[in-house]
Structures are given as structure tokens and as C-alpha cells.
Amino acid sequence: MGTASDKKLFDENGLRLDGRSPGDLRPIRIETDVLNRADGSAFIEWGGNKIQVAVYGPREAYPRHMQNINQAFVRARYNMAAFSVDERKRPGPDRRSMEISKVISEALQAAVMVELFPRAQIDVFIEVLQADAGTRIAGLTASAVALAAAGVPMRDLVVGCTAGKVDGKVVLDLSKEEDNFGQADLPVAVMPKSGKVVLMQMDGDLSIDEFNEATSMIFKATERINQIQRDALKKNYASTAQDWGE
């Protein structure tokens, strides 16, 4: 973040390296129930990100001392495949992935009706197969879909999106180059019906005006992403309904 660079990130028309204007998202595609064994699953492609999510549970929490007599807990495990980045990543959890797992777990816990499942745990496994900036919010966005596909009762879906600052300009959904050479990164996740913010991190340098510009961009984008989530969920049920009809 904020590495000094003379790499140009905008062309003469003010468009970004991949041809997007500042408020554009990369293409997003979500597919549900792609795995057999898991209770629910989702696969998301978001720009160059390819992330597989699986949900197990609610099931009895283990180890026993983790059980909460009032509610379930959501435990997300964010993991990057060794081949997901340019230079091979040493497999296994590191400090970054542990932090991301924690903030994703907390964001999902806000949406899931955990009070319905005392003593249970709900596992969300997030495997980043190919990383291309914004993996945590892409993984979180897919996790919410996988939870819904697993039939876990939820108050709302959770939608994530990032904004950032590149060459002094606020832009939506940073690409890899923009993430590497930009001046700020602001991942946010909301419950779209209520606009409640369940994940927010920031690093870099943002003035308060820039922060407000970035959040309003993100909020607008989450509506669009939420529609993609809903369509993905509906699509599966629509095809099931058609099978039954015929």
C-alpha cells in the first residue's frame, strides 16, 4: 500500500488500466451448491478472483468448552491455496489469514440467527484458489450465499465491496495493480436491507471527504452485488422447480 511508483493507473480518458471508470465493478459471477458433501456451497468469480466456499452445520460445537449455551458461533476459515498468488504461498494459516478469518466470522455472525442453535457451530471454509485483490470481501460475499444455500436462517445476506484511492482519486473495487500501488484500501461489508456495517477495515491515507465518497460508492455497489447473490440463489431453485414441473 502506498508504494512510490511512477506506474500510470489511469489513461488519458480517466479510465483505469482494465478499462473501467472509477465507479465500475469488475465482473462478478456466483454459483451455488457446487459441492456434494457440504451442507451448502458457493463459488465466486470476481475479476480474477476464484474462491470456493463450503458450509458445514449447524452441528455440535467442538471442542466442548467452545459451546455457548445461548447461541451458535460462526467459524470462518479463510485459506489461500499455495498456487493462488504469483509467488508460491507457504500453505497453512498465517497472521494475515487468521485476522481475515476473524473479521469474516464476526461479520457472518451478525447475519446468522445464531440464537436458534445453542451449543452449535457453523463452519464456513473459504478457499482462495486464485487471488486478484479483494479476496476477503469476495470470500465473504460468497460465504453469505453458501450459508443461505445451506438453509441456515439469516436476518439478511452479507455483501462486501472495497473502495480505495489511486493516484489521489477514489475508485471502487480495486484491481491488483491498484491495490499494490494505490494509496488507500477500504473493505466494507453490509447487510443490504438495513445498511448495517458488519465489516470495515482501512489502511492507507484518506481524508474525511474521500472516506465519505468511498462509502457512498460502496453502498451503491452493494445493491448491485446483492442482486447477483439473490439471482444465484434463485437460479438453483428455479431449475429445481422446472425439473419437478416436467
Partner: protein, 261 residues
Amino acid sequence: MPRDELDVMSEIKRNYILQKIRKDGIRADGRKLDEMRKVVIQTNFIPRASGSAVVTLGRTKVVCGIKIEAGEPFPDTPNQGVLTTNVELLPMAFPTFEAGPPSEDSIEIARVVDRGIRESKMIDLQKLVVEPAKQVWIVFIDIDVIDYDGNLIDACTIAAVSALATAVVPASTIGQKDFPLPITCRPASVTMLKIDNVVVVDPDLEEEQIASARLTVTMAEDGHLKAMQKGEPGFFTLEEIQKAIKTSSDVGSQIRNNYPK
């Protein structure tokens, strides 16, 4: 955040804290909603370290020691020194803290503290190069938590910034002259908790036990945001976040007044 042994608090106490905040707009220990606890900073506590600080924030107490050693830079940043931050939640600090590999909590605290210092560019890492791509100064920030009563993120940031501000690079170990660590600004983190739709600054342990969500905002003197972190399973509305940013800017300048000159 860590909880007490049983993760329960008596209903009476919980209700007392909630009612005080709801009705009187003040907190169980008599503080206003945006009031920090007393901050005491003692620098140069560990003369053997390159810089150090003991910080008490209310009844929370942490010790930060800075070690600066010559070493190899990262291959992708050959013209910069290296900064690493580590927080130890020592078993002496709390009944349920255990020895062993760092917990999720300690990793999160260390990473949020690190981000505030790194992103504000407090340390001029470019001035920490001995020979590009070969030898640079590596700054190790190590923080021991020895007494825990809430708000470790801010206590640790205050300790780290204070220790760095007084640190000296031991260049005499490689035959050069010692020089003060090059500092460009002094970031301040302000951590706020949401309790029953009210946002309070600098929470103590009891407040952490009943809060739904946490937000840390780190700013430097220029009034710009440098790092943020939302934590815990609850939520904030956008208006609450905007207000929290304003609070952080006000409270942050109070914290900065406590930093060593």
C-alpha cells in the same frame, strides 16, 4: 476481545452499566461517553532496548520495547527498512490468557497497531537503509501486556508510538554514529465500542463484555484516516461510523498531547 473466566457477568452489574449509559449518559466508572481513562506514559523504562515505554491506561498496563538490528531488507523493498509488530498477551495479565502461540486476539491487536504506524508513515523507513538491497535497519516493536482491563489496541498504540518516538538507532554496532529513529508524525488510535446503540470511547473490560461491536480509527496530525478496524459480531450504521471518525479526531489529539515531546 478476551472475556472473563466464565464469560458471564451478573445481571445486576450488566443492568447497572446499561442503565447508567441509557439514562444518565455516563458510564459505570463515572466517565463521559467520549472520555479516555487516565494515560500515564513512562519512556526509557528498559535502557537495554533501543526505545521503550510503559503505558497505563486506566488499569490496563502494557510494556513496549523497541529493538533495532541491522539485517536484510525484503526483496521487493530494497530501499526501505523493515518494521514488525508483535503483541504478547501474557498469562500474568488475565486468568484466561494462556502461554503458547499467538491467539487470534493478539494477532488482531498487533496488526491493527502495526497498520496505524505503518500507514501513517510514522517511521521514515527510507532513511533506514545502510546499503540498498543488502543491509537495512529492522525495527522490532514488541509489546507485553501485563495487566488487562480493556482497550488493548489503544494502550498498545500509545506504547508503541511513545517508544518509537524516543528510540535511537544503534548504528555504532556497525561502526557508524548512533542516530534518533527518523519520525515524521505521531498517529493516535481511538477505539470505540457500541453498547446498546451508544458509542463509548476507551472501553474497560466490563464494557467490552457487554458490547456488540468495536471500531478503531487511527489518524495522524494531518486529520486524515490512516487505519480502521471494525471488530466483534455487532454492526455500526454509516452515521455512527462518521460520528466515530469525528470523535477519533478529537480524542486523538488529546492522546497526542500525552506523547513524549
